[in-house]
């Protein structure tokens, strides 16, 4: 395998997997919380929150990347705070690539989880309450397991989106080999140099393989969970 791919190409593949996995896991807690608020919450500004969550889905990715650069760059209002207080730098680092792809994948994750929370039968939660479970327990042992298929779907969608994210990433953190050059950026670089076709094709095949694998894993998990939660 190592003969087939150059070290730089391997680095891009590994970095993409790390960035996408981190983005997926890091946005899960917030994604669950926001999906819960949108599905069950009744508060002023709910539609505004809904719109903000969905913005990255409808805006051009370059715009999202540029806004991230303005806010989260070293001189940006949020970026400056992060650096001064925690010493965290996002711009032109792999962590910035994680942020960019997480923001882009977030609406997809929230949508899937929100739909599955809305599909949970509230009557089952009432029944659990009469059996002595308080709200936290009801959430943990009834609501959460029942929307597990939706959570899995949301995670896979977020992962897939993060694997393919290009515009926001390249705008926010550029295209630095070994630091921020993910698979799509590497493919793009290959298309910009003479005789890069073979490299581009190799990475394209790998990209397809990862996407198909993610799809199969999600199907398999959904079936596994779906069998346990047979609808009454």
């Amino acid at each position: 395998m190592s003969d087939w791919l150059s070290p730089e190409e391997w680095t891009a593949v590994r970095l993409s997997l790390i960035v996408a996995t981190t983005a997926m896991l890091a946005s899960l807690p917030l994604g669950l919380a926001v999906a819960w608020l949108l599905a069950r919450g009744r508060f002023w500004g709910k539609s505004i929150l809904d719109a903000i969550v969905h913005l990255p889905l409808i805006m051009p990715p370059v715009v999202t990347g540029y806004l991230l650069l303005i806010w989260f760059g070293r001189r940006g209002p949020v970026g400056q705070l992060l650096y001064d207080w925690f010493g965290i730098v996002l711009s032109f680092r792999w962590t910035g690539a994680v942020l960019a792809s997480a923001v882009m994948g977030f609406p997809l994750m929230v949508r899937a989880i929100r739909l599955s929370i809305e599909a949970v039968d509230r009557k089952l939660e009432d029944a659990a309450g009469t059996l002595g479970a308080n709200r936290a327990w009801v959430f943990l042992v009834v609501t959460l397991p029942l929307c597990l298929p939706g959570i899995l779907v949301g995670m896979i969608l977020c992962f897939a989106k993060a694997m393919g994210e290009f515009g926001a990433t390249i705008t926010f953190v550029s295209n630095i080999p070994g630091e921020t050059q993910t698979l799509p950026s590497a493919i793009y670089t290959f298309t910009q140099v003479p005789n890069g076709d073979a490299g581009a094709m190799r990475l394209t095949l790998i990209s397809i393989a990862i996407s198909v694998a993610a799809l199969f894993v999600s199907e398999w998990l959904a079936r596994l969970v779906g069998r346990r939660i047979s609808v009454e």
Binding site: K123, G129, T130, G132, N134, E232
Partner: protein
């Protein structure tokens, strides 16, 4: 001693106003009324699924709701079991996990390790333990739901039309289990129903609800007869219920004699052993009235009595009468023409000719 259950609540739901008060000491208190009369809202208030606009709910001496004192115990702390119309089993858990769900949350002092075995035996669901709820029949689901509620060690068990979504065969399968529950489990039950047959068979105390108000409350037999005379229970199903004891069997004619306070009845041969207790139910439309002792009549069951009450004439021309037979009240339905023709009046001695008698079968 304070009653097991005391309710006095007011609640407003859009156009519908609930204003109900009753108390009960019965082992099985039936809340009876048409659909939409507010029965389910009432049990939801007792169970803590709805907070009433105003009022008080006391179970077993503990105040669960008192809007004046600002008391509203959340549903998970009430220890009131609830069996819903649809079983509401958790689809992601096995039958065993469903059964033990509430048991796990029950206070340690209340539960014993033998609880599960006892409930499995009581409800006949031992063979279902490892199945998933999706693989159960409607009747089995409902029995598991009852077991799940019982294992949460409730102080009171609410059952909201638990048989309504089942067909006749499944109902017949579950009724005996509910009877055993009433007699053996030691948990008072509030049972919501709009079926006269279910109430007649199960209730010890009857509370009738109409348009959000309690119209009657008391021991089953006496409330039932008031109900029928008022024409509330519905044209087709009005009738009387007597407690009975199997006195003997006549194998030559395949008959069983039943002793009641109203007199002895002969019914088709029953499988019940001599001495067994049951209830007989006589539909008002199956009773004829004769002024003298009838002769040459094929009916086996004829009871002497006096007319205790004559009801209002219904729109259809029928009139209901209560006949006092040895202290028990027998309901009869006649046409207004017969009542006038025989010049029936309160206090008049008559004979009731009963065309058919149905008994509870185990």
């Amino acid at each position: 001693m304070s009653p097991v259950l005391e309710v006095a609540v007011q609640h407003r739901l859009g156009q519908f106003a609930l204003d109900a008060a009753f108390s009960s000491d019965g082992r099985l208190t039936a809340l009876f009324g048409r659909s939409g009369s507010g029965k389910t809202s009432l049990v939801n208030i007792i169970g803590g699924l709805i907070a009433p606009t105003q009022g008080r709910v006391v179970v077993d001496g503990q105040v669960l709701v008192d809007t004046h004192a600002g008391v509203l115990v959340p549903k998970h702390r009430r220890r009131i079991g609830y069996v819903f119309q649809e079983a509401r089993l958790f689809p992601h858990l096995s039958v065993r996990q469903n059964l033990l769900f509430g048991h796990w949350f029950a206070p340690r002092a209340a539960k014993a390790s033998s609880d599960l075995a006892g409930v499995l035996e009581l409800l006949g669901i031992g063979h279902l333990l490892e199945r998933r709820p999706g693989a159960l029949s409607g009747g089995e689901k409902q029995r598991v739901a009852i077991g799940r509620a019982l294992l949460s060690k409730p102080r009171l068990l609410l059952m909201d039309e638990p048989l309504a979504s089942l067909d006749e065969a499944r109902k017949a399968e579950i009724l005996p289990y509910i009877e055993r529950l009433r007699d053996e489990a030691g948990v008072p039950i509030v049972y919501v129903s709009h079926s006269v047959a279910e109430v007649a068979r199960l209730a010890t105390t009857l509370v009738t609800v109409d348009q959000g108000r309690v119209t009657a409350c008391g021991p089953m037999a006496s409330v039932m007869s008031q109900l029928d005379i008022a024409g509330i229970s519905g044209a087709a199903e009005a009738g009387s219920i007597f407690e009975a004891r199997v006195a003997g069997h006549d194998d030559a004619y395949s008959l069983t004699s039943l002793e009641t306070a109203a007199g002895t009845f002969q019914v088709a041969r029953s499988g019940l052993p001599v001495g067994a207790r049951t209830r007989v139910r006589i539909l008002a439309s199956d009773v004829l009235i004769s002024l003298g002792a009838p002769v040459g009549v094929s009916a086996l069951n004829i009871l002497p009595g006096t007319i205790a009450e004559i009801g209002q004439r219904h729109a259809g021309g029928a009139v209901e009468l209560l006949i006092d037979c040895g202290g028990e009240k027998l309901l009869a339905r006649l046409t207004a023409k017969s009542v006038d023709g025989l010049s029936l009046a309160k206090g008049r001695a008559v004979h009731a000719v009963i065309k058919s008698v149905s008994i509870d079968t185990p």
